[in-house]
Symmetry: C2
Subunit: 374 residues, 2 copies
Amino acid sequence: MAGPTITTVSEMLALDEPLLLDSGQSLAGVQIAYEAYGSLSPAKDNAVLLCHATSGDQHVASPHPITGKPGWWDRMVGPGKPIDTTRFYVICANVLGGCMGSTGPSSPAPDGQPYAMRFPVITIRDMVRAQVALLEALGIEKLYAVVGGSMGGMQGLSLAANWPHIAERVLCIGGTATMPAQNIAFQEVGRQAIMADPDWQGGSYYNTGKTPAAGLGVARMAAHITYLSESSLTEKFGRRLQNRNSKTFGFEADFQIESYLRHQGLTFSERFDANSYLYITRAMSYFDLAEENLSKGGGGRLADAFADTNARFCVVSFDSDWLYPTELSRGLAHALNAAGAPVSFVELSAPFGHDSFLLEVPELDRVVAGFLGQ
Amino acid sequence: MAGPTITTVSEMLALDEPLLLDSGQSLAGVQIAYEAYGSLSPAKDNAVLLCHATSGDQHVASPHPITGKPGWWDRMVGPGKPIDTTRFYVICANVLGGCMGSTGPSSPAPDGQPYAMRFPVITIRDMVRAQVALLEALGIEKLYAVVGGSMGGMQGLSLAANWPHIAERVLCIGGTATMPAQNIAFQEVGRQAIMADPDWQGGSYYNTGKTPAAGLGVARMAAHITYLSESSLTEKFGRRLQNRNSKTFGFEADFQIESYLRHQGLTFSERFDANSYLYITRAMSYFDLAEENLSKGGGGRLADAFADTNARFCVVSFDSDWLYPTELSRGLAHALNAAGAPVSFVELSAPFGHDSFLLEVPELDRVVAGFLGQ
């Protein structure tokens, strides 16, 4: 694992109490790794919780400790930026189940050995449980806002549905309240790719000197295609060849898109734990706020999930996002309307597909700044 | 490999002459396995060549010898069916590079051992070369029509572009004349999944008692998602659980869609050779009739590829096909128009995505019957 030496060290919080999970299991000794930017006001009324996506982490606006690259939302978070750290106290925690410091399958179990597949299967709500515990430890009772894209948006929705008095504003970008079948399918392919790799070894690879890098790489390649739009792939790569003038009539990466995907798979395997990928995608496929409401004894409509919230919502989709298409966001906005929640919904035009929320989309900046300015 | 015992035996043709391939290599001893239905008329003017898709074979309207299932276009080909075998002599050959009898990577090389990765990389045009050699051996100089869906459609286009005087009609369903970047990307994921499987063993697995079934299964799972529409997945599976009342909080196939995909991967590995999958998807990613025309010294426009053909064309797309979307078929129809070829183009409404050409779409039956009736 080559790379620059980075000194970014996240804050660490050890939870005093075990987390009681949706599975019924209890998880003791949970640690949460987080980054914070800006200052908490004396009234503690300026906290913004950012929730990261599947392959993200707490390094929102600080260099990534493995890759050395800028934080994943560096363009959005900082002094004078749409999420203005001179005004807001911005917190982002590595999700429960993750691999960047928060407790996950690579963490030591009580017996001192890594949990591996002994780690309990978690849900999006469990991830949010850990976030809520973090807020409590920081003495933060109210959030000015919770903000997230993709799986981050789902966490924001779960917070609003299950802890309806914490967040005053919920900004959900390219998310959904119910994971649809096609996404479950792609998530399953990723997991099967990992578990088909003999180096996965039933998940117990941590002390073997091997990791299921090939399987995780394939999982990442498949997922990465779904994050981009067809037109952006055509524009960025088309059928252009990679450092050659003609096809080789072989199985090397003749095309730029092939070389790019292989690189994506390789670098992802260098920074991400395969078991974390299993658990996080499992949590996503389980995510369905309507069903969750039903199992809590509610009416089971999506709107019922938001019956108790006083938050105002902003729901954003991108016209080129085929993985979490506008239809999902529109359905969410309708449900919020039906629940009587104030909601603004906007479909932005951006060429980059699902990844648009991470990329240069000035209109998103204005939406974010505007919603947080209210 | 469990399954019923089927007695379907395809016709076999051994080519006298070596095939000179696009790579510059020469392939001797080529065998072509094919099925034929109906009778060739004395004037030899009623032959219809069917070309199969990526995972298809010559068993169009006869039971598959491994799975025992009906042929892949049983609903379309037969007496009184849209491709009427009381009227037409219908031929379908396993493609060069395939694994159902035609010469491919699993076939013996001159040294008696399987070619494995010594098999030359082939193109769609090379597949058509083999088909043309078959027609010559059968004494067929003219085709009433060439018909194919997906990769089958590409072969039809290649035939029209490179042997412009053979086919009088070309019916291309859900195809393209140029493989776009997103499809190249998905094809690469499939190959990487296979090559990441240690049982692949650099392709030389034939005498080891092992096959890269897991890798090929993952490849198939990923591909299969792309063959279906999001709405058909939602309708067919949604978030329904598989033989259980609640989630297991584990990594079993809790959801029907997960179980279905695993089954697809498993059964595909039982009937298809992984190396054939590598070679066939490679041929597809290389496919670009415009570029091919340029390399032949033509003008390099897609229309130029069809400059010499006298065929009439019918181009069909499906509105729910996001893998080979209507845009590709429309571009093809425009190019054919620009080449002065008679072409009818129709986008059919069907819910099943790319796989619509294989499924119950009565309007497709009418289009096929109508085009062949002209």
